[in-house]
C-alpha cells in the first residue's frame, strides 16, 4: 500500500470536474483516474483522510440511478482497471478488474464457447463495477438469474485504503459471510469495487424467439405464464404498444429460448400448442441474430430517452394488474406511457415522457405496489424531477423493515460516509 507522503501522485490523471462529469447535476471538484488497485487504495485513503466524499465510476453509463448526491468532492474513474485477469475456461470461471466492460468479457469468453449470461443494455459501455453496483440485468434473468447468482468473489477498497475480499474463485463456497451480496445493488456505498470473479456458462448454440400479440395486459400475462409453464423459456418479456417496431398489438409477449436446435424448435412448438386456444395471435418467429437483436431491443428499453424511467417490482402474477394500472394512470395523466416487463420475474419498466407527470405517477403506483410487497424505483430522471420526488419517498421509496440494519451496515463498512453519501435508500 502506498503510504501517505510517498510519491505525490501514483495516479496519472487528475483534473478539475466539469459539467460533463456531473452526477445528477452535482459537479465533482476533481476527477481522478485510478490506474491500478494500489493506486485506487492510495486515492481512497487520501480522500477519506481529507474528509472528502467520492463516487466511483466506470464509464458513467449507469450513473443515473440513485438520489442526487449530498456531497461530491471526487469522481474516481476506474475504467482503466479494464483487464480480464484470468479466464479458466475448463473451470468455467472468470476473474476481472471492475473497469472491464461486459463487451470485452463477452469477446474473451466467446473464444472458449462460453458467456457470462447477464445482458443489461449497452455492454460495451457497461463495466463490471457498474453491473454490480447498480445490479444490472436484462431479459436473460428469467433463466440465468442476476448478479447475485453468478458472482463468486469480490474485492473492494475500504475507507482506510484497505483491500478487502469475500468469497473466492471456486463455484461453491460457504467459508465466511457472503459479503459480496451486500455490494450488489449498493451503488458503491460500501466501498470501491476493484475485482470480481463470476461463474460462466457454455454459450448455447441456438436462440429463437416467438412474438405473440395480445389486446389487454391481463391476457398478455396469462399467455406469458402459460408459456412459462409449458417449458421454462430463457427469457420472457411483455412489451406495450410502440416498443417493438412492426408489432401491431396493444401488448406483445415475447418468448425466447436457448439451446440445441432441436430443443428450441421443440420448445416453440409446445408454447404454440399451449396458447393455441388463448386470445393471443402469433406475430413472428425469429431465429439466431434477429432473436438476439430482439432480446437486446427489449433489454435496451431501460436506457432509451424518457423524462423518467420507473422500475416496478411485484409478483409475476400481479403484473397484469400493474400494467392495467399503468394504462389507467397514463389515461388520467394524459401522457403516453410505454412499458416492458420481465414477466417471469415480476419486474416492469415504465417510460414516462412528461416530466410533470412523474411525481403524480409515483404517488399513485408506489403505495399500490408496496401493499403487495413490491416497490417502485425511479431509475432515471432529471435532477429537478428527482428532487420533486422527496414528498413521495424519493427515488427508492421505503426500503422496509431492514432500514435500521441497513444504516448500521453502512456504518460498519463506511463509518465516515465517504462513499457516495446520500445516493442510496434511507439517506444512506
Amino acid at each position: 500500500m502506498s503510504d501517505r507522503g510517498a510519491a505525490p501522485h501514483a495516479h496519472d490523471l487528475e483534473r478539475a470536474g466539469t459539467n460533463a462529469d456531473a452526477v445528477d447535476g452535482v459537479v465533482p471538484a476533481r476527477v481522478v483516474q485510478g490506474r491500478s488497485v494500489d493506486d485506487v487504495r492510495a486515492i481512497v485513503r487520501r480522500a477519506t483522510d481529507d474528509g472528502h466524499a467520492l463516487i466511483a465510476s466506470g464509464r458513467g453509463r449507469h450513473l443515473a440511478l440513485g438520489e442526487p448526491p449530498g456531497r461530491l468532492d471526487l469522481l474516481l474513474r476506474l475504467d482503466r482497471l479494464d483487464r480480464v485477469h484470468e479466464h479458466q475456461a475448463a473451470d468455467m470461471t472468470v476473474n476481472v478488474a471492475t473497469g472491464c466492460t461486459l463487451g470485452e468479457i463477452d469477446r474473451v469468453l466467446a473464444r472458449a464457447g462460453q458467456w457470462l449470461p447477464l445482458d443489461p443494455p449497452a455492454p460495451d459501455e457497461t463495466t463490471v463495477g457498474g453491473l454490480i453496483a447498480a445490479n444490472l440485468s436484462g431479459p436473460l434473468r428469467a433463466s440465468q438469474g442476476t448478479v447475485r447468482d453468478l458472482l463468486l468473489g469480490l474485492s473492494w477498497i475500504g475507507p482506510g485504503g484497505e483491500l478487502v475480499s469475500a468469497g473466492g474463485r471456486v463455484v461453491k463456497n460457504v467459508a465466511g459471510y457472503d459479503l459480496a451480496k451486500a455490494h450488489v445493488g449498493a451503488l458503491g456505498t460500501l466501498g470501491v469495487l476493484v475485482e470480481a470473479t463470476f461463474k460462466v456458462r457454455p454459450r448455447p448454440p441456438c436462440e429463437r424467439a416467438l412474438v405473440l400479440g395480445c389486446d389487454d395486459p391481463r391476457t398478455a400475462l396469462d399467455v406469458a405464464l402459460a408459456a412459462r409453464d409449458a417449458v421454462d423459456p430463457a427469457w420472457l418479456e411483455i412489451a406495450s404498444a410502440g416498443v417493438l417496431a412492426g408489432v401491431d398489438a396493444p401488448f406483445a409477449v415475447v418468448v425466447g429460448w436457448l439451446g440445441l436446435a432441436a430443443e428450441v424448435t421443440d420448445a416453440e412448438q409446445r408454447v404454440l400448442d399451449a396458447v393455441e386456444s388463448s386470445a393471443a395471435r402469433t406475430l413472428a418467429s425469429v431465429d439466431g441474430a434477429p432473436a438476439r437483436a430482439l432480446r437486446a431491443r427489449l433489454g435496451g428499453f431501460a436506457l432509451e430517452p424518457a423524462a423518467a424511467m420507473l422500475r416496478a417490482a411485484t409478483l409475476p402474477g400481479a403484473l397484469g394488474e400493474l400494467l392495467a394500472e399503468v394504462a389507467r394512470a397514463a389515461a388520467d395523466a394524459g401522457t403516453p406511457l410505454r412499458c416492458v416487463a420481465h414477466a417471469a420475474n415480476g419486474v416492469a419498466r415504465i417510460a414516462v415522457a412528461d416530466p410533470a407527470a412523474v411525481t403524480t405517477l409515483v404517488a399513485a403506483l408506489r403505495p399500490r405496489l408496496a401493499a403487495r410487497g413490491g416497490s417502485l424505483v425511479v431509475e432515471r430522471a432529471a435532477p429537478a424531477v428527482k428532487h420533486a420526488l422527496q414528498p413521495v419517498g424519493g427515488v427508492f421509496g421505503d426500503p422496509g423493515a431492514g432500514r435500521a440494519l441497513m444504516r448500521r451496515l453502512k456504518e460498519a463498512f463506511d463509518p465516515g460516509a465517504s462513499f457516495a453519501p446520500g445516493r442510496f435508500v434511507a439517506g444512506i
Binding site: D91, M92, R148, Y177, D178, A186, A262, A313, G402, L405
Partner: protein, 488 residues
Amino acid sequence: MPAGAQATSVGRSPLPASLLTRLAAVVGRDALVDSPEALLVYECDGYTLERGAPDLVVLPRSPEQVAAVVRVLAADGVAFVPRGAGTGLSGGTLPVAAPVMICTSRLQTIESIDLRNRRVVAQAGVVNLWITRQVQAAGLLYAPDPSSQGACTIGGNVAENSGGPHTLKYGVTTNHVLGVELVLPTGEVVQLGGAVEERPGYDLTGLVVGSEGTFGIVTRATLRLSRAPEAYRTLLAVFDTIDAASEAVSGIIAAGIVPAALEMMDRLILQAVEAAFHAGLPLDAGAVLLVELDGAAVGLEPLAEQVRAVCARHGAREVRVAADDAERALLWKCRKRAFGAVGRLAPNYCTQDGVVPRTRVPDIVRAITATAERHRLRIGNVFHAGDGNIHPIVLFDERDADEVQRVLAAGREILEACIALGGSVTGEHGIGVEKIAQMPLLFSPEDLLAMTRVRAVFDPEGRANPHKIFPDAKVCVETRAPRRQAAL
C-alpha cells in the same frame, strides 16, 4: 464419552435461577429440556469429534415463541445456539460458551404455497423434502437437495447455505431464498426480503443466508420453487481408477456440458453402498461417476452421447444408463445414503468439505490418497465432482486416541491442500467450530475484520451462536485448546 471427544461447559456462568420459570411461562415447562440424560441428545450434531451439551434446550412451537424466548434471554444477556434437526456437519450447533439451545424443529408449518408465482413460505423446522413433496404434483420442486434432505430443516439450510448434488446446475440455498424472518438477538423480529424478487436497499437476505446462526434465528423463509425437469438421463460410468474418473470430470466440464449432477464414488464407498443397497454396482471398479442430465426430453440423448464419449475417451470400461425411474431412484439412494452406509465399515467416520477449481479434482484426489497413506487411514471419496466439492470420508475408531489424532491431522492437511490449489475449506457444510483454524489461511485480517463488523451489525453483543466461524483469541485460551488437547 469417547476418548476423542470431550464435553465442556468452560466459559459459562450458571443460568439465572428465575430463567427457567420465565421461559416456562413462554413455552410451557414441557418445552424445556434440562435433565442431564435428555440433554445428551443435543451434545453434538453430525460433527461428532467435539461434544458438549447445553444447560438447557428450549423447544418453541411457533416463530412468535422463538422471539419471546430470545427476548427473555436478552433481558439476562444469555447467549444461545440455534439448532434445527442437528444434521449439520461442522459443529455449528455445538454450544460454546452458550448455555441455552433453541431448537426450531417444532416450527413445522408450510404457511403458504403459491403455485402461480412459484413461492413457498415455510417455517424454520420444515424438513427440506416436505416442500418438494407438497408441490411435485404441480410439476414444481424446491431445488436444493442436500443428502440429508429427508431430515434437515429449512432453518438449518438457510444458516449453512446448504448445497446438494443438483446444485451444480441449479445453485445452492442462497439462489432460492427470497426472504427471511429473522429474530435478532434482542428478540426484535425483522422481515427481510420477501416474495417479490427485488426491492430497494441492501441484500440483507443474501447476508443472512450462510451466516451460521450468528445473526440471530431465522424462523420463516420465503423460497423460490423451480419447474421439475421434464426428463432425466442418469448415467453410471465405471472406471478402473479414481484418477481416470477425475480426469473424466474435467473432460465433461471442459466439453461445455453442465449436467444436473456429477458425482463421484470410489471403491471403498461402492463396496459400502453395494453391501447396503444391492444396486449391482461394480465392486472391482476404482470409481464410478454418477452423471445426471435433465431438461426437455428432446435435448437429452445428444448430451448423453457426448457424456458417454468423454467417459470412453477417459477409459470408462462401461457406461450404464438407468433404464427407468426405479433404477434412477436406486442409484440416487446409493449416493445420498452413502454416508450412512459407511457406518458398516468402521465405528466412526468424519468428512471434509473442501472445494477446488473443477480442473484440479484429479490433483486433490491424489493428495487425499497420499494423505491417507501417510497417516495410515482409510479414506473413502463420495463427492460433488462437478463442483469440485470434495467429501473425503475418513474412517476411524474413536476409542483409538492415536488414530483420532491422525484423523484430525489428515483433515487439516486435506483442507490446506484445497487452499493451495486455489479453493476453499467448505463448499456447503459451513465453518462451524470445525474449520475455524483454517479461516486465517483463507482470508486476510482485513477480510475477517469486515466480517466481524458485519456480525456486530446484527449481533453487537455476540450472543447468537458465539465463538463460531471466526478465530477468537479469548476462546482459544478458554475453550478451544483444552478441547483439542482432549481430542488429540
